[in-house]
Subunit: 163 residues, 4 copies
């Protein structure tokens, strides 16, 4: 069994309904939905570490460098990164090669977990397994598929990641 | 990309609330929840084939032989089997070695998908990925873990599969 | 504005999924779902008092006498009683006339609140309003209808209370 | 039993998650959530008529005049109007006195029904009952309370309608 660390960065996965603005927003500090997804999935073994709560459109290379640093310094060799879908491809390629001995798996969601009937749990469940079964490298797991870093590409029209 | 077939056999994963009996039951013929889980997971590529809608406590070796036959004759090399948790270990060991060139991954749930906040999507998402990333053999994927057929064991007290 | 008291007695309304028995059961003492329904309904004014957590098929005249006593001694004139649907008619007729100055409204659900997409919130929302708008007497509110105590009758085939 | 008509105008009640914009939006024409709320509430008797699918901030007096016309010409004497919360007070006072023989009840939600754990079903359940139990006049039903047209006032800070 490989130890798994989940680094959370926000994205649609983590958004909640905000009745004040009548839109979607991130909940307060320290409030990623990932621990709740794991609890509902009865999955107790990963360590979860919240890095950011931001849209992936707001993710800069400064954020990515900090993320890469956390990936590299993590004691685990199996790393899951939750991430917005809009720039998941950019971050995957940024991380590629930076921690060559580790298996890094990005994942996210098209519908927030907190709104129910979401793809978040399906995707995270896949990413946690992929982090343990794939060889070292950087990958994305979305919609039941594994993508190498160079092949990560969101189909904006379909809202899916397809090969 | 590996083509994936999902064979459904019932189990808690597929149960729904029946207001007539005020308990849980299987919905009518052809009504596994798996297609809905895939739809919510925005996962379009697997072929789903419904074999049974039974509790795994009712699963006999006759059922298992029929299941093994479907695994062997499937055109895909990556097979997911949804199954009740109570005898998942028995079926895993029954299937072990019977289709040596295929990757077979059993999965299930402790709370029916139709009751929401369930482990079903998390587990199925993991199993679909495992079927594509693991070598040939028989495995179970539950609660974010992969188990070889011989190691599958439900912790009845915790309601989890832990190593 | 009339002050409202909600007396909870259990019934399907309050059941939760029990993964150990793989069926529905009442959660531990003090755990009616009514406070959560009120919270989600952003309804802060009623006082909630949990009397029993039982199936209405287990409700005896001893239970009903205790319930009648709580209705009579409550400081509020507007009383909602959550109750299983199977013997809601019996309890309504038992209570009828016992606290002639009060408005007593029984309600319940065909699907537990904790299983989502349930009739519980719709029914409770109706009962809380009915308790404030109806004259003294004993009533049931189910499925968007008000029934006088003598007219309460579950349609077992349809799972509804219709006129 | 009074016949009930539900006129829907949109508001937060009817919004759905739109993965394309990653925000909340109205679904396509003819897609109010009200029929689904009634179905889950097992409430079959009201007639539902969709007038608009708009934010209540976009509601003009032209919309309100059309709404008043539908209220007046409806064959039923018990009318429920689903409405955004931001200008519910304005519409209530606009309608007041325009159909003096009818009971008109406005209601809405702070969280869309389609996002689950919402106040929508609780509020609609209350409004359907209020339309049958209140005397002629214009009212709002929110959060377990009845408000006369002149007293309707949203507490923007708390996101509730309190007395």
């Amino acid at each position: 069994m490989k130890a798994v660390r989940i680094l959370t960065t926000g994205g649609t996965f983590d958004k909640v309904h905000d009745w004040r603005t009548e839109g979607l927003a991130f909940a307060g500090a320290g409030r990623s939905q990932v621990p709740e997804v794991l609890e509902h999935g009865r999955c107790t073994h990963p360590v979860t570490e919240q890095l950011f709560q931001i849209d992936s459109l707001e993710m800069t290379d400064t954020h990515r460098a900090l993320l890469a640093q956390h990936v590299a310094s993590a004691p685990e060799d199996a790393i899951v990164v939750t991430h917005g879908t809009s720039t998941m491809d950019v971050t995957a390629r940024f991380l590629d090669g930076k921690a060559p001995e580790k298996t890094v798996v990005l994942t996210g969601a098209m519908r927030p977990y907190s709104l129910f009937v979401s793809d978040a749990a399906f995707n995270l469940g896949g990413a946690v397994i992929a982090a343990q079964t794939l060889p070292p490298g950087v990958f994305a797991v979305m919609n039941g598929r594994v993508f190498a870093a160079k092949d990560v590409q969101k189909d904006e029209k379909l809202g899916r990641f397809d090969a």
